[in-house]
């Protein structure tokens, strides 16, 4: 009798351990999925304000509804358009994961253009026929353009050279360099590191601070016609 008891408990113990282990796994699984569920719910819930806002505003505001419609149409029409613009690339093998080609939205480009026009008369300058003018006349106008456009650049973009070294100095491109930021030219053979002379320092937009644009604004108007009363 006395040796049966321990054997019973001994026999039960592995079962208990197994049960405990299973329940632990069960809990962990439950917590895991609950966590995911909570996160997903949160992610979805976070969108709730904008979803309900868009819904309400689309109902209330015809302009806005039109913009949303445009957005969906753009979204639907973008892919085939993007694909059709790259026939040259299509036959090439794709050894690396390809990026999705997307159209640059025209809006911020137009906003920047209107800023350049407002401050620096950029469009007036480019749209004018220059052949009939003397160099000094073009030069005088260029000052207006230079001063104003430079102000726009300083105010709305932070621009820094890609390479800080002086042009003409020797620089090295290590293995894994970003070919978009640093472009080797000329005798491009062998394996990196490449060493060569810095011909152009490059420019990088560190920060872009374009104005917020009201939904009602027609950004295609780059400069309004002025009528003095």
């Amino acid at each position: 009798m006395t040796d049966e008891k321990p054997s019973l408990s001994q026999r039960l113990q592995p079962l208990m351990r197994e049960a405990k282990r299973l329940s632990a796994i069960g809990w962990a699984l439950a917590l895991h999925w609950l966590g995911i569920a909570a996160r997903e719910t949160w992610i979805v819930l976070k969108r709730l304000p904008i979803a309900s806002y868009s819904f309400a505003r689309a109902l209330a505001n015809a302009d806005y509804a039109q913009r949303l419609t445009d957005l969906y149409i753009d979204g639907a029409s973008n892919l085939p358009v993007a694909a059709s613009t790259t026939p040259a690339r299509a036959p090439q093998p794709a050894p690396q994961p390809t990026a999705v080609l997307q159209e640059a939205g025209p809006d911020s480009a137009l906003v920047l253009l209107s800023l350049l026009q407002k401050e620096g008369r950029f469009l007036d300058f480019l749209q004018e026929e220059v052949t009939s003018y003397q160099d000094h006349e073009v030069g005088a106008a260029a000052r207006v353009v230079h001063e104003g456009c430079q102000r726009v650049l300083n105010e709305h973009l932070s621009i820094a050279p890609v390479r800080a070294e002086a042009e003409g100095s020797q620089v090295t491109l290590n293995k894994g360099f970003d070919p978009a930021a640093e472009r080797p030219t000329g005798h491009v053979v062998g394996e990196p590191p490449f060493t060569g002379a810095l011909v152009h320092r490059g420019w990088r937009a560190v920060e872009v601070r374009l104005p917020q644009v009201a939904s009602s604004r027609d950004v295609r108007i780059l400069a309004p016609a002025e009528v003095e009363l």
Binding site: D63, V111, D124, E147, Q212, A214
Partner: protein
């Protein structure tokens, strides 16, 4: 429990700014400042965050913009545009632009709560009052703040709003009222030159105690876009610790950087005229802008002989229609340096032309453009400013002006080193002529934002310990009393001045009350003539001046009170005494207290208010 943020608002004549400090992150005099970026319309339908809010307000025509193009992040009022877009719209349509509202706020001849701005406009252009404009600028700042700090709204923070040191009690009260109107509860006012000095103290992170010593007199010269403001601050000692005491402030001078740019533009315009080129108003504005840019390059580099300026055509033909000219170093030197900062002797005084018959009410712009001459007048007038100050050497009796030992510059004009040097050089010439040591330059940073930063520092230091500039009222104040005497034809009755507020009455100190009694008629408004003096430091409350020299006392707008008839019998004569106190906010409060009634009962009913309605507004005012 104090607020989470200490906020400083520089409500400037041409620009406003807001700086703030998170109090929990500060330690002693190490205060970390941030500048609020203020969303504003920069063009129709385009909103940008900028550190400065141009203090311009534009009242657009209903058809001038597309509805929706004037939306701000917080909605905003599409009939009142504030900021950069307002300023730009005003360049082409000046009749709808409100500018320099702050200067109008202390204009003694107009009703500051009447819709008078923009002045002289066609009938259907809306107008607003200078007071309302201040409220609108402040509420724009409030919305900008609340947008970024939704859980710490502006009205729950400690806020300091700056005013020119030369603002009179009425203008200070209007500023405080405007701040209250946008919901700012924990408000104090601070004089701008003091704010500039606080900013300097803040930047020095405690080192300022080594840079100045007891006995120093710091001259703060603040030349902003529209006004020039001077103050003298003495370094004193209290219980072994350095203290700062503001001992004098200058007069209100409407003269600033904008005058300088405009003057240069006119010089260049004349030059163009000689070559047969006429400029219209739009081109003159473009030229003024060009001159400002060119001036900055020329002032920064004395080697530069000239900078070309191109006045662009207004139409789309840029190359064909632009006018090319240039601004030379010579013109800048003659016009700007010698015109606005001439080398003068300390005896010289600003020229006062007799004003022609005024056909319209305008701002009382300074008639003499020479900042140095205004400075000479200020320092000479304040020659005795340190007489009553403990620990100061007796001022030599032959000294014709107060000798500052250090100078702090502030305001956008002094971003140009040449101009700082020029003022210092002129001052040091005056000093050496009286065998005094030359004044030192206190290095300041960021002349455009220093006032807002200093104000935020003060908002913090007030509640968390830190250096304070003492000073109290910058003037002593008097009410005029006509002596009763038999009428003599052709002679005005003799006027005496009763001192009701002594010089340097500090904020929150015990109210003072002269013993003299006045008889007020219940139910009828009573007006007193009101005077201020920036030099009579020794007058005590209750002193009756029988005579004074003309430049000692300056007549301010009159003050008025009306005893309500509901508590007392109408047309009963009640004896009252005038009590004066400086509130914690920093405004002067005068109360008429009936000597036979309980003084604490209904004290607000007996408030003596400053007349902000202007001399001409009296007749049509109820």
């Amino acid at each position: 429990m104090s607020a989470r943020y200490a906020i400083g608002i520089d409500l400037g004549t041409t620009h406003s700014a807001l700086s703030y400090v998170e109090t929990a992150k500060c330690e002693g005099e190490e205060v970390d400042q941030s500048i609020l970026r203020i969303p504003q319309l920069t063009a129709a339908g385009s909103v940008e965050d900028r550190p400065l809010l141009p203090s311009f307000l534009y009242l657009p025509h209903p058809d001038e913009h597309k509805s929706g193009d004037l939306t701000l992040p917080w909605g905003g009022d599409p009939t009142r545009l504030i900021g950069e877009h307002a300023r730009r719209q005003g360049l082409t349509t000046p009749i709808r632009l409100v500018s320099s509202a702050k200067s109008w706020l202390c204009h003694p001849d107009v009703d500051r709560k009447a819709a008078i701005l923009p002045p002289e406009v066609p009938a259907d252009v809306p107008q607003i009052s200078p007071f309302e404009a201040s409220v609108l600028y402040l509420s724009h700042l409030r919305e900008a703040w609340n947008g970024v700090h939704p859980y710490d709204p502006l009205d729950e923070q400690d806020v300091t709003v700056t005013v020119p040191a030369s603002f009179d009690p009425a203008a200070r009260e209007l500023t405080a009222e405007a701040a209250k109107a946008v919901g700012i509860e924990n408000l104090v006012l601070l004089e701008e030159p003091q704010a500039a000095l606080y900013s300097w103290v803040n930047d020095s992170v405690g080192r300022w105690r080594h840079d100045v010593k007891v006995g120093d007199i710091i001259l703060v010269v603040d030349v902003g876009g529209g006004t020039s403001d001077f103050s003298l601050i003495a370094v004193t000692e209290q219980d072994g610790a350095l203290e700062l005491t503001r001992i004098a402030v200058g007069e209100h001078i409407l003269l600033g950087g904008d005058n300088m740019d405009l003057t240069l533009a006119h010089v260049v315009k004349q030059k163009l005229k000689q070559t047969g080129v006429e400029l219209d108003r739009w081109q003159l504005q473009a030229l003024t802008h060009g001159c400002r840019v060119a001036k900055e390059s020329l002032l920064a580099d004395a080697e530069l002989e000239s900078v070309p300026i191109v006045v662009p055509s207004r139409g789309a033909k840029l190359i064909g229609g632009s006018i090319r000219t240039e601004l030379t170093q010579d013109e800048v030197t003659t016009t700007l340096i010698n015109g606005f900062f001439p080398e003068v002797s300390v005896e010289e005084r600003p020229a006062q032309r007799a004003r022609g018959a005024l056909t319209k009410v305008g701002l009382p712009f300074a008639q003499d453009p020479a900042v140095t001459r205004h400075l000479a007048a200020f320092l000479s007038k304040q020659a005795g400013a340190t007489e009553d100050l403990d620990g100061f050497v007796e001022h030599a009796h032959w000294a014709s002006f107060l000798h500052p030992t250090a100078v702090l510059f502030n305001g956008g004009v002094f971003n140009a080193e040449v101009l700082r040097e020029r003022v210092l050089q002129v001052l040091n010439q005056w000093l050496s002529a009286e065998d005094a040591p030359p004044a030192r330059l206190l290095e300041a940073h960021d002349m455009d934002l220093a006032v807002a930063r200093g104000a935020a520092f003060y908002a913090y230091a007030r509640n968390h310990g830190g250096v304070r500039i003492r000073g109290g009222t910058s003037h002593s104040y008097y009410v005029g009393i006509e002596r009763s005497m038999p009428a003599i034809p052709g002679m005005e009755p003799e006027l005496h001045a009763l001192c009701v507020v002594p010089f340097g009455l500090e904020e929150g100190s015990e109210p003072v009350m002269p013993p003299q009694e006045f008889g007020l008629v219940v139910g009828e408004p009573v007006r007193f003539r009101f005077f201020g003096s920036s030099v009579r430091r020794e007058d005590q409350v209750g002193d009756l001046l029988e005579e004074w020299s003309e430049d000692e006392l300056e007549e301010l707008e009159e003050i008025q009170t009306s005893l309500p008839a509901d508590k007392l019998k109408r047309s009963e004569v009640v004896p009252v005494r005038l009590q004066a106190a400086v509130s914690e906010v920093g405004t002067l409060e005068l109360t008429a207290i009936p000597t036979n009634a309980k003084p604490d009962a209904e004290a607000s009913d007996w408030r003596v208010s400053f007349n902000t309605r202007g001399a001409s507004g009296e007749s049509n005012n109820d």
